[in-house]
């Protein structure tokens, strides 16, 4: 479904990504793990055209999307929920969700249904529907960010660090929901620092180390892979 073919990204003199090959198949949860600064977020940003690639190509459903700007990708069916939540703090929860469905303008019925669906997934949000998003707690903001990215009805969802800054029990909740969303047919590419959690929900995983892919395998096998454990999971 999504394929990166030897993609490299340079920031000035530094090569942030070098020759990355990556594939995500329909219906999968694929996770991209690695230490901070290994290039995980850069990979996501490169897919979404937010940083220019210096070489290589990116394909989505057979079409090349290497230079496509982010807002067009949303139309093509790729939604990203960026690192650090990035919700629109001065707008209400409802407005945030409506913006998530920006590309579906005019389809009021669909939007209404989708909002209801998000509230089903995150009942906490429905209580605060007219509250300004900036006043939500960290966990609620993360939920909103996720709900917002679902509003576009993406085929592929890119999640960057959903666990960042959340209390552990919330993290588990978030991962639970990721699994649920996936069951409904949304393919997910998950970027996580918290490798254990990520590997538990994912089908397959890629391990990034300073800009290139070190190991890739199924999540189960990676969890058992001692070398990976030693190098990237700590403990």
């Amino acid at each position: 479904m999504l394929a990166l073919r030897s993609v490299s990204v340079r920031y000035g003199a530094i090569e942030a990504l070098s020759q990355v090959d990556l594939e995500v198949n329909q219906g999968e949860i694929v996770t991209l793990i690695g230490a901070n600064g290994a290039g995980k977020s850069t990979t996501i940003r490169a897919i979404c055209g937010q940083v220019p690639t210096s070489s290589g190509s990116i394909h989505f459903e057979g079409r090349e999307i290497t230079r496509t700007p982010a807002h067009r990708l949303v139309h093509a069916g790729i939604a990203q929920s960026p690192e650090g939540r990035r919700i629109f703090a001065n707008m209400t929860v409802r407005e945030n969700l409506e913006l998530g469905a920006f590309i579906h303008h005019g389809k009021h019925e669909q939007i209404r249904q989708d909002i209801d669906r998000v509230f089903q997934l995150f009942p906490r949000l429905s209580e605060r529907v007219n509250q300004s998003a900036g006043t939500l707690s960290g966990g609620e903001q993360q939920m909103l960010a996720m709900g917002r990215s679902l509003m576009a009805r993406p085929k592929l969802l890119l999640r960057d660090e959903p666990s960042l800054g959340l209390a552990p029990f919330l993290v588990q909740q978030i991962f639970q929901i990721i699994r649920e969303i996936n069951k409904e047919g949304v393919t997910i590419l998950l970027v996580e620092q918290n490798a254990y959690q990520a590997l538990r929900v994912a089908h397959r995983a890629y391990v990034l180390g300073t800009g290139s892919i070190v190991v890739s395998d199924t999540a189960e096998r990676l969890l058992a892979n001692e070398q990976v454990q030693a190098a990237y999971l700590g403990e």
């Binding site: 530094i14 600064g37 959340l166 209390a167 552990p168 029990f169 993290v171 588990q172 700590g234």
Partner: protein, 255 residues
């Protein structure tokens, strides 16, 4: 007497207490760890110690002096130096220049003599440069001194920050996730280095780290923060066994 003492320090943002009622101390020569999940208030605490924020309540006493109301540069002059979680180097300056900014605290010549370029200032400059190079060498950066700091690889940037902090010749060094983004081997190296530096520069260290394993490897004493509160204090072994800490890190099954 403790080098650093926190007496019931609280900091509120709006109604939210980012750090509440913390009482703690760091003694001279110690290497203390400060851990806690993301968003627990560790960095806020550092900002309170260095004067970026003023405490809403309570007091920070360093070296026998209450630092309330002092500006960060005064506190730095008293002997607290820090690194930043999101690297804050002087990007356009070279590595050596970065460190030189910090050795200014030990300059003798006045700005005026620098500007008219007197002999005394040249001697002082030479002395300061030597000090700066010494700090670079201590962190293993002597070969990149002339590179622009923003061109350095990530790991070296982290080291440069420590080197820069050391250059102020602090009594207390605050390290904010110095090993973030490194793999475990690099982390080990860095921790080793920190320990060496601690002894050679004779500096007390307070260290924020995410990775429990790393902290436990080098710290004798650890504080644990969660939701702005101090939930535990003790040796690594004690911390590891503390149920509150486990709950904070692993979470309770509450779905």
């Amino acid at each position: 007497m403790s080098l650093l003492e926190l007496r019931g320090v609280t900091r509120r943002f709006g109604g939210l207490a980012a750090v509440s009622n913390i009482t703690a101390h760091v003694d001279t020569g110690e290497l203390v760890g400060l851990i806690g999940p993301n968003g627990a208030g560790k960095t806020t605490l550092f900002n309170l110690l260095t004067g970026v924020y003023a405490p809403s309540e309570g007091a920070v006493v360093f070296d026998g002096r209450d630092t309330r109301g002092m500006r960060p540069c005064r506190i730095a002059a008293l002997g607290i130096a820090r690194t930043f979680q999101n690297i804050r180097l002087f990007r356009e300056l070279t590595a050596l220049q970065n460190v030189k900014v910090a050795v200014n605290l030990r300059a003798r010549a006045s700005l005026f003599s620098a500007v008219i370029d007197t002999m005394g200032q040249r001697a002082d400059d030479a002395r300061l440069e030597a000090l700066a190079r010494e700090c670079l060498t201590a962190m293993g950066l002597e070969h990149v001194g002339d590179n622009r700091s923003c061109d350095l690889p990530y790991g070296l940037q982290r080291r440069l920050e420590i080197s820069r902090a050391l250059a102020t010749r602090p009594k207390l060094l605050l390290l904010d996730e110095p090993a973030a983004g490194m793999n475990p081997f690099e982390k080990q190296d860095l921790m080793q280095l920190i320990r060496t530096v601690q002894t050679t520069f004779n500096v007390t260290v307070l260290l924020i780290e995410h990775d429990m394993k790393v902290v436990m490897g080098i710290c004798k004493r650890i504080y644990v923060l969660d939701y702005g509160q101090l939930i535990a204090e003790g040796t690594p072994a004690e911390i590891r066994a503390n149920p509150k800490v486990i709950a904070a890190y692993l979470g309770e099954e509450t779905i």
